[in-house]
Symmetry: C3
Subunit: 346 residues, 3 copies
């Protein structure tokens, strides 16, 4: 990786692939004065032309062909912003071992967030309240959800309250099925969008959302009687996001948890710079206001998309409309101006 | 209809009746420099005085008395913007045959959107994925909803999965009942707000919403056990709208479907100018991310009301807060300035 | 209470305790030119430092220690803004009898809103449609919810449709249990945020929200079959708020009800100035569009927090982003400039 010496943000471009949060990222970058590049496929061209956020469109047949155009990005002095689709198309290992373009964020953190076991270890060390996993069905002492690996369509799970119920229900599945027994947490989904500034060392809360999942977020529109008649089960395909604000008295807890997760990331193997930039804790608020965390996303999440013009929270702190996409470009701009860009590149 | 020759938007007024999306339409018109007229009844006066979006209030005893004041509108050089309540109070046939004031949009399209059969024909020709209708109960091969005509209060339907179930359940209803058998699509409701510019020939995606329906959007707050005890069934009265954003990877599909619907409208009988201006596709996103479309509204929809200051999508493309109401006034303004207003009048 | 003579808003500070709607109130006050004071505890300091809305932080060990720092507020010429947490921590009786600092609003109204019986009397006198209470189980003629006093965790209720069902279900509870029988209203929750200006005598509609309650707003994500297996019941812990807009044709009714509630407040015992400033009617819209009101909050509510940058409704009337928090500071500012501050102090 070359370390560019220019202290002028105009000498750099911000690039990402056209999906997930690309509209927000590119608009934010342009608002901060960067040139912007959308890496697109023929199928998505229409979108990035219509919304006019990219100064340049670089087309590839499929997003997995990213490496075929990486040289162009390097030539254009582009900083690549990873998002969920980017990581998914390019691959965690390819990002870590093959990417040569400037990359915003800690590459090593992707291994920790994409491995269920490593993620759980990180969160537990940070004191985060994760749902209990039962390794032995005889230990079931509360409602659990039993999930079958690779099951599709929402039929691959059942609920049990006791070891006896478990043994009764498991008979309906093929004997060789692999499954996990997880505490069944009942409460409202909550996604907390953070930004940790590597330059200032300060954690910011950017916004909150809940996902809009098919059919989970509509099955309840069907009367219980009709659900049972139609044999309906829940599935969890993400289709969008809904803006929410949280009870103000929960904010201290969200700061504490977020700061602990950042602090603990500094000792993670293969992550010398720790976690920085945007990240998200994804969990459930139970009726006693405990935040039970299922997952961390160590990069920008699509739940920030309702806030392209800023959130109620960023309106408190910033005078301009500050999306998470814009916040990260501002960080990069300030790093360039201070000659500290290398600190933000993974 | 007179074709006004003035190229000055200030010589025109924008008028609509005080309901549905009138606040948004009138604010948008004023922001674009038009004089604004709210046609009101005594009952709604308070609203349009309080929100201060109308330069003039014209009062009639009931909205169905529209024609009693139409001469005033013509005299004031007013362009009438139709919305759902306007069409409902004035009547599809009256709009087409009796209205003499300048009218924004294709009058003929209202016949296509208000007739279930014609609407379905249009959508199917455009390649839109509409739910299957079963004419013979013996063909039932998936969950269906059987709806009885004219039924009120949400009790006039049942769910069936097979021909046998159908025959069992239908016995509970009077033998002479008329009904329709429709595929039962399970997934999240999604309303896509489009704007097709007649001047530029370009389709824009403005925003998305989900409706807030009573009791559909609250019955799920009641535990299944209690629903069954209380004998609850779903009803679908619209009470408001909730803002949402969609998964960015679905945008190409929404552009494709919207453009196809516009393209196909050009050949519809009695619609020489085709569909233009704001419209909405209303459907369900199923767990496989298919967009199953139930209905089209060929005019501005109330789902755009959360976005009076613009949506996350219009913030990408426009530098001012761009509601759908403002977008259509901008179109009219540009048409006036270009001497092309007649192209936008139905 | 001293009546300050200054007509310069800069001679005053706006203060509140750091919880509930403090971020919004303090930002609004600053936007109107006031000095701002957050009264905090060590636990919440992080939040009010991060969001940068307070010019000064006054720390106390616990919010119930408010009176230990009240002299400081008086010395700083601070006007205290009450919110839900303020009232809860300081206490209705302490506010009325012990508070010496300048207090925005009618102190006496808190007694009416915090007593179920008095609140119901006020609302009924104002012609508000409140749910029916049954004093005799034999009168049950519709679905009712039977709630047990002091029950926790959402298990302390049952649903009944007839006197017979009631007598069957009540057997499951200890014979000495105290309970209330309330009409079971099914429909969508709706929270209407008003502002009544004492200076102009005009009622404004500011915004609407629905709460985000655990687990009420997620239990419907669980298929009916699974809910029953897991023995789930509904609970109602507030975790946040979701922005909504309402069907425009309902606005006249919301104005009428709000004005009636304000008018009736003028005769309430111990409330010489009546209700003024922000308040909220909390209820259900049933499938026939009736607004059934459960409760009134006679001060700013947390449901206004999504609108720190204004709502779709305030965007119609104001040229600046107008939150409810800012609206009340504007009212105070205008009162100071007009020498009428005493009218706004309770």
């Amino acid at each position: 990786m070359t370390t560019p010496l220019s202290k002028n943000p105009k000498d750099f471009a911000i690039a990402t692939i056209g999906s997930h949060t690309a509209l927000q990222i590119l608009k934010g970058a342009r608002d901060e004065g960067f040139r912007t590049i959308a890496i697109i496929t023929p199928e998505v061209r229409r979108v990035y032309e219509s919304f006019k956020v990219a100064d340049e469109l670089i087309e590839i047949p499929s997003f997995s062909d990213y490496f075929s155009i990486e040289d162009q990005l390097i030539e254009k002095n582009a900083i690549v912003i990873p998002h969920g689709s980017f990581v998914s198309y390019v691959g965690v290992e390819n990002v870590a071992s093959k990417m040569k373009a400037m990359y915003y964020g800690s590459k090593g953190i992707l291994r920790w967030e994409s491995d269920r076991g490593m993620e759980r270890e990180w969160l537990k060390k940070a004191g985060v309240n994760v749902p209990k996993i039962f390794s032995n069905p005889d230990e079931i002492d509360r409602p659990v959800i039993v999930k079958f690996h690779g099951a599709k369509g929402g039929f691959g799970y059942f609920i049990a309250n006791t070891p006896t119920e478990f043994k009764e229900r498991i008979k309906e599945f093929p004997p060789e099925s692999e499954y996990a027994i997880q505490e069944y947490v009942v409460g409202v989904p909550m996604y907390v969008h953070y930004f940790f500034s590597k330059l200032t060392g300060e954690l910011e809360i950017m916004s909150f959302d809940k996902r809009y999942e098919s059919n989970a977020d509509s099955i309840g529109r069907i009367a219980a009687k009709d659900q049972i008649e139609a044999g309906l089960r829940t599935s969890y395909t993400i289709t969008g996001n809904i803006p929410i604000v949280v009870r103000e008295s929960m904010l201290p807890m969200f700061f504490t948890i977020g700061e602990s997760v950042v602090e603990l990331s500094k000792g993670l193997e293969g992550v010398p710079k720790g976690l920085f930039g945007p990240f998200c804790l994804e969990g459930i608020i139970d009726p006693n206001l405990n935040f039970r965390v299922f997952e961390i996303s160590a990069r920008i999440v699509a739940g920030t998309n309702p806030y392209i013009e800023g959130s109620p929270y960023t309106a408190l702190r910033y005078t301009e409309p500050m999306s998470t996409g814009r916040r990260l470009s501002r960080e990069i701009k300030q790093a360039i101006e201070q000659g500290r860009l290398a600190e933000l590149l993974g």
